[in-house]
Symmetry: C2
Subunit: 435 residues, 2 copies
């Protein structure tokens, strides 16, 4: 997903760290760039206190792989970074390897091998930065969004955070929130690029623009119909609710509350709406909501939650800390050798990984089983987690957002019930390595 602003667009292949290119140049000269290699994208842990994570960005990552080409402008921008021979190689670069990964919307746990990328060292290492960027951002948003939709317990959640994050991250955030169960977004680019349903109410500026609140309500109802959502907290809520029903009638779609003690105010407004006969008018609340505030409103007469800042910043965890590590590569004899860094505090587990979710006969998840070097055995009730995404350079694993939403619902539904607890806790299932 991308958006045109000036300065002129830059090739997707430049969404990359300087060292990826210089490493490939060095490996090419050393004769090692063509060694078959397996990279793995995975989390060492969940953010502190989180019980599960949710994978998002898979579709965007596939877009990035397809778009990862060095055009003339990109090559010109790389003069001084790499040498002429390397520029020539980059000009015909195209990922021709294989990728397997968790499906978009899937739950994940510490050490889940979310992506397995196999190709030559050169072609696979070049994708490191952009794959991590997409996964670290989108999954952070989806992981927070999933907790919010669980806390909302079936009441719709509307994504409204565009203004609190980078303008293009906002588009990806709207998409990721939708994967994790949000119903709609305020972001029009997400509507245009991904078909996420968009929705909106009105801002305080609209009320303030008019000479009186009733003028503002009349203007809005006139053009958007009585089904619209009127913002009722610019001046006095009780008076505004009275005016809103006076202007729109008892078929008024909804009112929005954006300040004050939302639970208390919602109760008063519900009673007032009911007493005015507007029994089907819904109450939408906004104002720095997160999963905890949403859960705290469970008993309040609230019909929908608009979530902004805390959604687009991952509710305290704006990035997932995924890493992309070389876990195996061809040796001088042509055989694949497992490799891993030995540093004490950041050691990795070498070897190609496979993964399945172990489930009880009743279908409840029991463990994240990661096989090293070979597939873990399916006990009959288990579910394999790695699906083919790219085969010989061709994208083969594209899923629709509806499929990702369905995957998210099913994946979370089979987790132990502790997944719905908003308090800090351990991952709801353990990760087990099998060799």
């Amino acid at each position: 997903m991308s958006v045109v602003t000036s300065p002129p667009p830059v090739s997707a292949a430049l969404l990359t760290d300087h060292y990826e290119l210089t490493m490939v140049q060095a490996a090419r000269q050393a004769g090692t760039a063509g060694r078959r290699s397996v990279f793995e994208l995975f989390p060492r842990r969940l953010p502190a206190g989180r019980r599960y994570g949710v994978v998002a960005g898979v579709g965007r990552a596939l877009d990035a792989i397809e778009a990862f080409r060095f055009d003339g402008a990109a090559l010109a921008a790389l003069e001084g970074v790499v040498d002429a021979d390397m520029l020539e190689w980059l000009a015909s670069y195209r990922f021709s390897g294989d990728v397997w990964g968790y499906a978009e919307g899937e739950a994940y746990f510490p050490h889940s091998p979310l992506l397995v990328v196999e190709g030559t060292f050169a072609e696979a290492v070049l994708l490191e930065t952009v794959l991590l960027s997409v996964y670290n951002h989108d999954s952070a948003i989806a992981s927070a969004a999933s907790r919010m939709t669980l806390a909302a317990g079936g009441r719709p959640c509307i994504e409204m955070g565009s203004r609190r994050t980078h303008e293009q991250a906002a588009v990806a955030a709207a998409r990721a929130a939708y994967v994790a169960g949000f119903d709609s977004t305020s972001n029009l680019a997400a509507r245009a690029a991904y078909g996420v349903p968009s929705a909106g109410t009105a801002a305080h500026s609209f009320t303030l623009l008019h000479d009186t609140e009733v003028d503002a309500f009349r203007a809005q109802v006139q053009t958007l119909g009585v089904g619209t959502t009127l913002l009722v907290d610019t001046y006095d809520v009780t008076e505004a609710v009275r005016l809103a029903v006076e202007v729109a009638g008892t078929d008024l779609g909804a009112v929005r509350l954006d300040s004050g003690d939302l639970g208390l105010v919602a109760r008063d407004v519900r009673a007032q709406l009911d007493s005015l006969g507007a029994t089907s008018t819904r109450i939408v609340v906004t104002s720095d909501l997160d999963e905890h505030a949403i859960a705290a409103l469970a008993a309040a007469p609230v019909d929908a939650y608009g979530v902004g800042t805390q959604l687009v910043t991952g509710s305290g965890h704006p990035t997932c800390g995924f890493v992309y590590k070389l876990v195996a590569r061809e040796g001088a004899d042509g055989e694949l050798v497992s490799v891993a860094k030995r540093s004490t505090d950041k050691a990795s587990v070498g070897g190609r990984k496979y993964a399945l979710r172990r489930r009880s006969p009743a279908g409840t998840a029991q463990a994240e089983v990661v096989g090293i070097g070979e597939r873990p055995e399916d006990d009959g009730d288990d579910r394999s987690l790695l699906v083919p995404l790219v085969a010989a350079g061709e994208v083969v694993g594209r899923a629709s957002l509806d499929e990702a939403r369905a995957r998210h619902r099913a994946s979370v539904a089979e987790l132990p019930r502790a997944v719905t607890m908003m308090s800090a806790g351990e991952p709801v299932i353990p990760t087990v390595f099998e060799q």
Copy 2:
């Protein structure tokens, strides 16, 4: 700044919330859309514990204003959002008003009027979402980056966080960090789009690709020269440093440490390098650094800091919480009227704002003076803060990144010395309203 990936690019004007467009449609039908209006972009407060903030994104915001047009694809995407009459109006939309703002790199405080946007309601409200997105993101990064460069006390800081944030936010983050004193970035798109100097070392995967560590070092030195930075913590640091100097000689540019107790290891490595005669070889440290970790390494023999996650996530504060509020608008009589929301917990101060930094005769900042409705009086040593950015729709306030860097240095240098304290504290100068 923008980057091409599939799906196809979306017009910059869609980086907007749904309600901005429906509000304009309603105001147009009510005859109020053309009322002259003044919007203000400002922070209600600094993030908890922060002593100052730094404005960034000004240049990107000007880019966004210039690119904010609805092309055919954008209009097609808006069918179902607004009516045909509104689509026709959008087709010729172009901001024709005036904008004043703080210069890029300037320090800011609670209620600093960072942007003042004047135009018709319709043209000014449409910019709300994208202006907030750019300012909230870029200033969060610059505010964190500024503390890091202060903590580094003149030692170079390298931005390396691309992989931990949205791929296009990464480009803006590299730019914002550069404004706030970082020396370079790993991000090649920031180099291409904005001319930020790029730099890189090597990853553990490069060492692991080769049969031995010495093979990897030889390959890197061969292509990048002895001035390169060798990563020495893949296996055993002492052995790696020995090999590094053996391969590159005593003119080796630098070694990088990415794990362990960085202060302790840096001391050992410095002693070892010196004993090997590599007295000018520098030590670069990376590994989840933030401003506190940087400050804690002040006494260690470290020559440069590579900062990733904590930079691109604003070191605990990934967004600034800036808001964009209507503060004045034309009334039925054609006169400009101050307006403000009255909600108890989110009240705003109505009226057009002016700002200056009150300074002592010695040039030390003493207060952020915000004038309501008129310019505060300059005591002779003060500095006016609002500069013209857009006049009658034309960008007039474009500054280079070098100018923004100079502005940042000068602005921070005139703040009280408590600005260098990394502990939590109050804003280093108070904000004073004058009426």
